[in-house]
């Protein structure tokens, strides 16, 4: 498995964490809310009950000593007995301290008038909560029947203490919920780890597969959906590996076939070449048609030989059996030698500074240069120009011509084997493999060959790095 240690993606973990925290907060808030709410309600209602009972108790304690029907003094006594901010009424008679009669709601007054029972109501005055208790005072007959005496008592009782208690409950609930948060974060991290580890495994496996390691497999943990996914990925990788292997086998077969065919063709072709040369010399003095036929036979035979040799070279490069033989090479000298050997010196401009010496494979450099310049001369138009530039740790050789250039549909395929830009010109002297071989050779050096269109012709850039000491002969070909 590939050791991929990129920083963790924030996505899944943070989402799980957020979800857990949200769930915890919501649950805790809901629980705290309802808990504190019901506890608060119970607290308030029990306090209300106690308060009204206390009011009734204090009235009951003093009532037998009150004159009835009451005078102003009796109402005052009752008001003092009840205590606090209290209003006592009897018909038009009223005893009140600082009590604001406007505070008594119609609902409460109605409940006190209609019923024979006390009533209470929470009211808010200036942001403070009060309990307004109202009660009629009853007159009881000796046989126990009760009737309203006409005396009504209203009193205000402060609920601030109870409210503080309820606030305390809410605060405690909130604190408890807050205390549960770290636990939920911990749980979320654990859960995220449980999910993320298989996901990370799968990601690494997929990365390894994409990088070409077709033997990479994910290890399924447990029996959940992620494990099923891992199994599915493994099956996919296995079938991919299988079809890749089959394809590679077929490709290797095809290459071997080409190599075998070209090898088999080469020997009879060599013989054929010798024979037609003999034929040509014996055709001297005969008529023009015979001479022309003999010349044509020779040129076609040589072309065949070149094609077969190119095929063998391509086969070697494809098979990875091509070897670099690096030696110190003067780039400028190599270019001039190449042109001179092929008789192209007069037709090509050369701009090559002396003294660029690198370790390269001289033969392969020559092949590349010959293919590029030959291509430019064949398909382009003069002036053809070869420039050599020193690069840090290498060299760049640029071949430009002023021909029709490389069109948009040609450019991407210019290095394809047997690709012909002009379909009508089927009979060209080239084998159709030249540029492909040139690029394979450049890549064998660890460099590259690229094509571009200058607008007034084609341009090929060859970049070759300097092969340092000790690297030759060990370098494998292939891609």
């Amino acid at each position: 498995m590939r050791a991929l240690r990129r920083p963790l993606p924030r996505g899944l973990r943070s989402r799980l964490l957020t979800a857990f925290v949200l769930v915890t907060v919501l649950g805790a808030v809901a629980a705290a809310w309802s808990g504190a709410g019901s506890a608060g309600t119970a607290l308030v209602s029990s306090h209300q009950q106690r308060t009204t009972e206390a009011v009734a108790g204090s009235i009951t304690a003093v009532a037998p000593q009150l004159t009835y029907p009451p005078d102003r003094e009796a109402l005052d006594r009752l008001r003092q007995a009840v205590g606090g901010d209290t209003l006592v009424t009897y018909g038009d008679l009223t005893s009140t301290g600082v009590f604001d009669t406007g505070l008594i709601t119609d609902e409460l007054r109605g409940a006190v008038r209609d019923g024979h029972r006390s009533a209470a109501q929470r009211i808010t005055v200036d942001g403070r909560t009060w309990l307004l208790v109202g009660t009629p005072v009853m007159a009881t007959a000796p046989d126990g029947t009760r009737s309203p005496s006409g005396i009504e008592v209203y009193t205000l009782r402060d609920l601030a203490a109870v409210e503080r208690e309820v606030d305390g409950l809410v605060l405690t609930a909130v604190a408890t919920a807050a205390a549960a948060l770290p636990l939920s974060v911990l749980l979320a991290l654990l859960a995220a780890r449980g999910v993320l580890r298989p996901v990370r495994d799968l990601r690494d496996t997929a990365g390894a597969l994409a990088a070409g390691d077709l033997g990479a497999r994910a290890e399924p943990h447990g029996a959940d959906e992620l494990a099923e996914l891992a199994v599915a990925v493994n099956e996919m990788a296995a079938s991919l590996q299988e079809s890749m292997a089959a394809m590679e086998r077929m490709q290797a077969d095809a290459r071997r076939f080409v190599a075998d065919v070209s090898h088999e063709l080469r020997t009879p072709l060599s013989t054929l070449a010798a024979v037609v040369e003999v034929l040509e010399s014996s055709a001297e003095g005969t008529d023009d048609d015979t001479r022309e036929s003999a010349r044509m036979a020779i040129s076609e035979t040589h072309r065949l030989i070149r094609l077969v040799e190119d095929l063998m070279e391509v086969s070697r490069l494809d098979a990875g059996t091509a070897r670099l033989r690096a030696e110190p090479v003067d780039a400028a000298a190599a270019v001039r030698d190449c042109l001179r050997l092929r008789g192209w010196s007069e037709r090509v401009e050369v701009a090559a500074p002396e003294g660029i010496v690198l370790r390269l494979d001289r033969r392969r450099l020559d092949v590349i240069l010959a293919n590029l310049v030959g291509n430019a001369l064949r398909h382009g138009a003069p002036p053809v120009r070869v420039e050599v530039h020193r690069l840090p740790g290498g060299v760049r050789v640029t071949v430009t011509d002023h021909g029709p250039g490389l069109g948009g549909d040609v450019l991407p395929r210019v290095f394809d084997r047997f690709y012909k830009a002009d379909e009508s010109r089927t009979r060209t002297p080239g084998s159709g493999l030249g540029l492909a071989i040139a690029r394979e050779n450049a890549r064998l050096h660890g460099g590259d060959l690229t094509a571009s269109d200058t607008g007034s012709g084609a341009r090929f850039d060859l970049v070759l790095p300097d092969r340092g000491e000790g690297e030759e002969d060990e370098e494998e070909g292939g891609r």
Binding site: A56, T105, A119, V137
Partner: protein, 158 residues
């Protein structure tokens, strides 16, 4: 989407727990105890219990009622089964389900109807002050007698 749902839940919680003006809640039985006079039981010509409300302007305590009862029916044409001994103070202890009366009388100074007078008067005042009608009355006499341990009820009011 999930966050939207959570927000909706929170909103629902908040709105459902809002603090509006509270409704009127029941506060239990109303207090009682006001009366224009003291209920006293005397005996008519046939020896039956008769309620006489002594117009004092207020109910007063059981003890006060007992004093009025001991002092007799006054100049009305009612009679009493309690001998006038001159003593008018009576100890009163109200327990949960029984009223203890410490009469300044011996058992033979009170007729059975007189005992009913005492019991009914004490119960009437107790009930009018908000006490339970089911309360019993124990009348204790000065001299040791089994009558002192009996828990009585008023034959008129039950």
């Amino acid at each position: 989407m999930r966050r939207l749902g959570a927000a909706a839940v929170v909103l629902a919680l908040v709105t459902s727990c809002g603090s509006g003006p509270a409704e009127v809640v029941d506060g239990g039985p109303a207090p009682t105890g006001v009366a224009s006079g003291v209920p006293l039981y005397f005996l008519d010509g046939q020896g039956e219990l008769v309620l006489q409300v002594r117009d004092t302007g207020r109910l007063g305590s059981i003890s006060e009622a007992m004093s009025l009862l001991l002092s007799g029916p006054g100049d009305s044409d009612l009679g009493t089964g309690i001998d006038a001994t001159g003593a008018q103070r009576m100890g009163v202890t109200v327990r949960e389900d029984v009223i203890e009366l410490m009469t300044p009388l011996a058992a033979d100074e009170v007729t059975p109807a007189g005992i009913d007078q005492i019991v009914c008067t004490a119960l009437a005042v107790h009930v009018q002050s908000g006490g339970s009608p089911d309360t019993g009355v124990r009348v204790r006499f000065t001299l040791d007698t089994p009558e002192s341990d009996e828990v009585r009820r008023c034959p008129v009011t039950g």
